[in-house]
Amino acid sequence: MDIVGNVLPQVLKDEATEDKGEMARLQSFVGAIAVADLVKTTLGPKGMDKILKPTGPGQEMTHITVTNDGATILKSMYVENPAAKILIEISKTQDEEVGDGTTTVAVLAGELLREGEKLIQKRIHPQHVIAGWRIARDVALKTLRDISSENDIESQEFHNDLIKIARTTLSSKLITSDRDYFADLCVKAVLRLKGSSNLDYIQIIKLPGGTIRDSYLDDGFILKKQITIGCKRRIENAKILVANTAMDYDKIKIYGTKVKVNSMDKVAEIEAAEKEKMKHKVDKILKFQPTVFVNRQLIYNYPEQLLADSGITVIEHADFEGMERVAAATGAEILSTFDAPERRDQVLGHCDLIEEIMIGEEKMIKFTGCKKNEACTIVLRGSSIHILDEVDRSIHDVLCVLITTVKNRRVVWGGGNSEMQMAAACEEEAKKVQGKQALAIEAYARALRQIPTIICDNGGYDSAELIQNFKVELQKGNLTSGLNMNDGTVGDMKELGIKECMRVKEQAVMAASEAAELIMRVDDIVKCAPRKRERA
């Protein structure tokens, strides 16, 4: 370290970097806008898909993913830029919180920053920009809440709303041609949950083969397991005992136990005792008089045979999820001890029919007429695993949106209607605000309006013209107008039946504003020296 005069000594570690002021800001803007631009072509009903190809030795061509889902794309990307990471983070949060709108949130944050960059270039201090954005955000959210409508959860209108929302969500996905079919399917599945938000009860089984149209909702519950050989394949009026217990051999759980014997006879005795212990356990199970026995763990031949001999159908190796679902569907208690046969009625699950069915080429077990009718299964069929994966993601998005709607109940018109109305309200507000903040509020409005603009662009329509016409329609007082992406005109959303969940929009606006503000406030980026990784 040669210090000559006032040369700055090295303060940070080697390879660590620090960018300040303009440089730092430039880095953030570039990163965030690049991410937003990357996903923006997937937005809207005419959005395109992306192929994600994993890197790393030997996997170049395996496991590729084709998707339209923003969160999936962003999650799988490896980015270095810290601001880009923030955008990915909000997309993930959006996915966890409401399940859909993951692209919108990243694009909106990116557009906000693009507008922000212009303001910075005009020498407006970031804090003023933020102050303006904050005002705009509140106005936008208030408008969003004001224009949303609410229907009673039991009413037919609400049911129709759900179908419309499902259709809207599906329209940007791969299965858009079958959206009516799937919308109906998803709504039925969600309504079965009766207001609970546990997505676990909706099981999705993916089986390659057939076409997407062959997918169906099974009101029973399907377990992707097989009935053990030698048992009945069809049980009517089944009494089900669900257990989580060792049925191979019972380990001695007391610590430090060792078996030490000094003769062959003793070995035989111990073996007999072991067997007897298992027999004892089976006897206890038999006292519950079940007709079906489902265990999480594997079952050895001996107890299996004992159970089968008593005419009990045995299903082994149901994993945790499967077991919990069976228990939830049939109203069974998950047992690990079997000393209270008098609680039989409480602990046994019940369903009208259990049978082994074939879907495609796989054997599965179907439970119909369950005691608690909440669980259901969506069986997805399709020509390849890539399609199935994408359909699965789409269905997941729809289910999440529907559940959120059931919880929140507020809906808004789709087709860019809510964004345009929010933008209009912001512009109105900008006229009343004194000071530089007004410029930022206008910028916020422009960013919001970018969402329908991008949707138009993706559809190959003349966005400048359409958006202007759209604006005029709203100005005239046609508050239900929106983009008709089928023929590239401004249409009436009420007629087209395009609705969206308010909560999704609300979360997207909140998260995008927060993220944009966070990035805007940064004036210094310190990157620590990357950790040295040992080559494995």
Binding site: M1, I252, E269, L518, I519, R521
Partner: protein, 535 residues
């Protein structure tokens, strides 16, 4: 590296491996140290004040943090220069002792070092400089105490506390919701504060974060939130009038610490052992049940069989509760932590109004909320936000606010912010400087200049002209004899910080000036740096 020679002209080694070591001496060492420390202070400088900017920090693993909190910034910068590290520690000790003002302390130290550098150039001995700083520091502290005002923390629904919290939150990304968050922080602290002893145990305030929603969804739970769910999926999800059995022993057969062997040599023993084992589980559950408990919280795991027996006995249970949570629950519910099943007695159970499982978002994450605890002395602040970075920053901000409130409860004297306190001290120190007849006079005067650096920096960050606004404030302080005139950062039209309600705690300001002076003195004492070459 300097070499020494003996009488015969042969060189001899003073330091081991001195060829591989770097050594700096004298003025060169002073300057290098000061420049390094100043580099850190410069980074933090733009974060000061309500319009301060944030820093984006990328960890060695590529994780991103965005923060405005001085202590966090310097900690995550991974500074390696030895003197610069002193500033990191400075910020951290302010954080540990006061919790707020971590940026201010580093900036002040930076300003002091800057002054020291010019003094060194004038040829003043470093020790004289540090002596002068020391004397000036004493004068500043005394003056600070004389201009401090006592506030009534109870008055007007704790308005003063809320304002102080707002001042602390004003510079953070959550400043938009500072009023709401400030209220949450005040309520949280007052809930757990021991006003008689004027003390607050901050362990009783748990800050839990969860991404999703927005910062305004942040709320205060008058109880404890733990990131766990019931051990068996079919246990009841809600317990009212809970009687809590808090265990630190696993629901498993005992494992004595002494090494032992149980030898089984015949079938008879084998059967007995099995029965014994079954009995263990039954006894355990029975002991819990008999005590009248209706929920068991355990620090350890459960055996499957025990788990089911708990369900069968209608005893909801939670396993793997973390150690800190166990202690918190014990304090809140009045439960005794029970290390052995045999020692469960009804008196040792804790009580709470309700315990229930809550679910967030679409992913399957559940948490347990324990509300209306017997001794309500524990609260949780649940922070929500659009992304992990926001939530983390909000957590740090709330922590700062909580610390400020705690300090005010301990000592209700405040000084006014906006740089007014520093300006007042600077004026006082300047007056004192003329009374000093020795070389130290220059150092004392420089100390005053350094103090002025804080309002200077504030004004700069707010986009005001620093020199004009500081000069104005200074002359108004002198002519109006009003130590509350500062920089109008928020452009509210008044420079009187009492009107703007910018409160800072006296203890924090005092600590800032003292700590910064101490560190600067320490740096000024170093005249020789020996370090390995590859540094």
């Amino acid at each position: 590296m300097s070499l020494a020679f003996d009488d015969y002209g042969r060189p001899y080694i003073i330091l081991r491996d001195q060829g591989q070591k770097k050594r700096m001496k004298g003025l060169e060492a002073y300057k290098s140290n000061i420049l390094a420390a100043k580099a850190v202070a410069n980074t933090l400088q733009s974060s000061l004040g309500p319009k301060g900017m944030d820093k984006m920090l990328v960890s060695p693993d590529g994780d991103v943090a965005v923060t405005n909190d001085g202590a966090t910034i310097v900690e995550k910068m991974e500074i390696q220069h030895p003197t610069a590290k002193l500033l990191v520690e400075l910020s951290q000790s302010q954080d540990a002792e006061i919790g707020d003002g971590t940026t201010g302390v580093v900036v002040l130290a930076g300003k002091l070092l800057e002054q020291a550098l010019t003094l060194l150039d004038k040829g003043i001995h470093p020790l004289k400089i540090s002596d002068g700083f020391d004397r000036a520091c004493d004068v500043a502290i005394k003056h600070l105490e004389s201009i401090a005002e006592e506030i009534d923390i109870q008055a007007n629904d704790h308005e003063a506390l809320i304002q102080a919290a707002c001042t602390a939150l004003g510079s953070k990304v959550v400043s938009k919701r500072k009023r709401e968050l400030g209220k949450i922080a005040v309520t949280a602290v007052l809930d757990v504060a021991d006003l008689k002893r004027k003390d607050v145990n901050l362990d009783l305030i748990k800050i839990q974060t969860k991404t999703g929603g927005s910062v305004e969804d942040t709320r205060l739970i008058s109880g404890i939130l733990i990131d766990k769910d019931m051990s068996h999926p079919q246990m009841q999800k809600e317990v009212t009038d809970a009687k809590i059995c808090l265990l630190t022993c696993p629901f498993e057969p005992p494992k004595p610490k002494t090494k032992h062997n149980i030898n089984i040599s015949n079938a008879e023993d084998y059967k007995k052992l099995y029965q014994q084992e079954q009995q263990y589980f039954i006894d355990m559950v029975k002991l819990v049940k008999d005590s009248g408990a209706n929920i068991a919280l355990c620090q350890w795991g459960f055996d499957d069989e025990a788990n089911h027996l708990l369900l069968q006995n209608d005893l909801p249970a939670v396993r793997w509760v973390s150690g800190t949570d166990v202690e918190l629950i014990a304090m809140a519910t009045g439960a005794r932590i029970i290390p052995r099943f045999q020692e469960i007695t009804p008196e040792k159970l804790g009580k709470a109004g309700s315990i229930k499982e809550v679910q967030f978002g679409t992913s399957n994450e559940r948490m347990l909320v324990i509300e209306n605890c017997q001794c309500t002395k524990a609260v949780t602040i649940l922070i929500r936000g659009g992304s992990q970075m926001i939530v983390d920053e909000a957590k740090r901000s709330i922590h700062d606010a909580i610390c400020v409130i705690r300090n005010l409860i301990k000592d209700n004297r405040i000084v006014y912010g906006g740089g007014s306190a520093e300006l007042a001290c600077a004026l006082q120190v300047l007056q004192y400087a003329d009374e000093v007849s020795s070389v130290e006079q220059y150092a004392v005067r420089s100390f005053a200049d350094a103090l002025e650096g804080i309002p200077n920096c504030l004004a700069d960050n707010c986009g005001l002209n620093p020199i004009t606004s500081v000069a104005q404030a200074k002359s108004r302080q002198l002519t109006e004899k009003n130590p509350r005139i500062g920089i109008d950062c928020m452009e509210l039209g008044t420079s009187d910080m009492k009107e703007q309600k910018i409160y800072e705690t006296l203890s924090s300001k005092k600590q800032q000036i003292q700590l910064a002076t101490q560190v600067v003195k320490m740096i000024l004492k170093i005249d020789d740096v020996i370090a390995p070459d590859d540094y």
